[in-house]
Symmetry: C2
Subunit: 182 residues, 2 copies
Amino acid sequence: MLTQAQVDSARRRAADMLAAAGIVLTDAERASIEVADLGLGELERTGLELITYVNTDRYCAKELVLFAGQTCPEHLHPAVAGTPGKMETFRCRWGRVWLYVPGRPVSALKARVPVGSEDYYTVFHQIELNPGDQYTIPPDTPHWFQAGSEGAIVSEFSSTSRDESDLFTDPRIRRAPEVGEA
Amino acid sequence: MLTQAQVDSARRRAADMLAAAGIVLTDAERASIEVADLGLGELERTGLELITYVNTDRYCAKELVLFAGQTCPEHLHPAVAGTPGKMETFRCRWGRVWLYVPGRPVSALKARVPVGSEDYYTVFHQIELNPGDQYTIPPDTPHWFQAGSEGAIVSEFSSTSRDESDLFTDPRIRRAPEVGEA
């Protein structure tokens, strides 16, 4: 569980990275950047920071921020209530990100699977995204991604986002944030 | 009808504006920026430049570029084949844009209705978008927008885009581009 001070600090770092990349947020957006440690208590290694610009019943757009080497762990977006699972396009805006999906695995992974979580990473087809590169992930497809040594900013364009339905490979993960008192 | 030289020039200017705003395109994207003069032959005044990042049967994302004072003329997105009309969110990334939708008209318009086209502008509720500001336009809603004195860059997040179905108030407008030989 993150402390409020840890959340504030991560929010400031993410806001600074967005500003440095020329991405303008309103004050209200800066103050509400979501810091997702996913319940593992190792935010620097596993988690992400994000701002949701819009999420309607038809489409969604977010900005994702990853610190250096930070990993969004393996998950997929299943069908919900008869609606196909979320389809999403990742467009790298700044930095570098390695994205992993099902398919022929690479022989030498550029990302490092988070230590202690090796059992929960199962897809290793590697896609490198540099600024201007993008990739579309079909519904129901396991994927995970990790930022390079400078971190990364990724625009996510997608169908409706229903984060609470995401299925993570790692059963220890909790998508909803928990923040402590300290 | 634009000449190829005019298209190339507008493309370069739009690419330069995007680069100055820190928005990275691939070479292929830069070469394929759409220059939409909408058939009126007055691109500086009426038209826009755009790049479509992705357009699936579920969502769409584009970057719109407007030169200083350039106007995207009044239009709406109707229902198509039983699917509700396009819903879109405009997020200003750089510069300034005035957006007009139905509602209480402003007494003093900040934009200037393109001379000679006054008959084809009918909604005057004004929304000013500066970097970080955004506004969502429901389906089937007439709207038009004009850049301020430095131009503007606007991210458009939306449901599926079917440009060929757009209904423009001005019957002279043709959405599909025509490019001449010269």
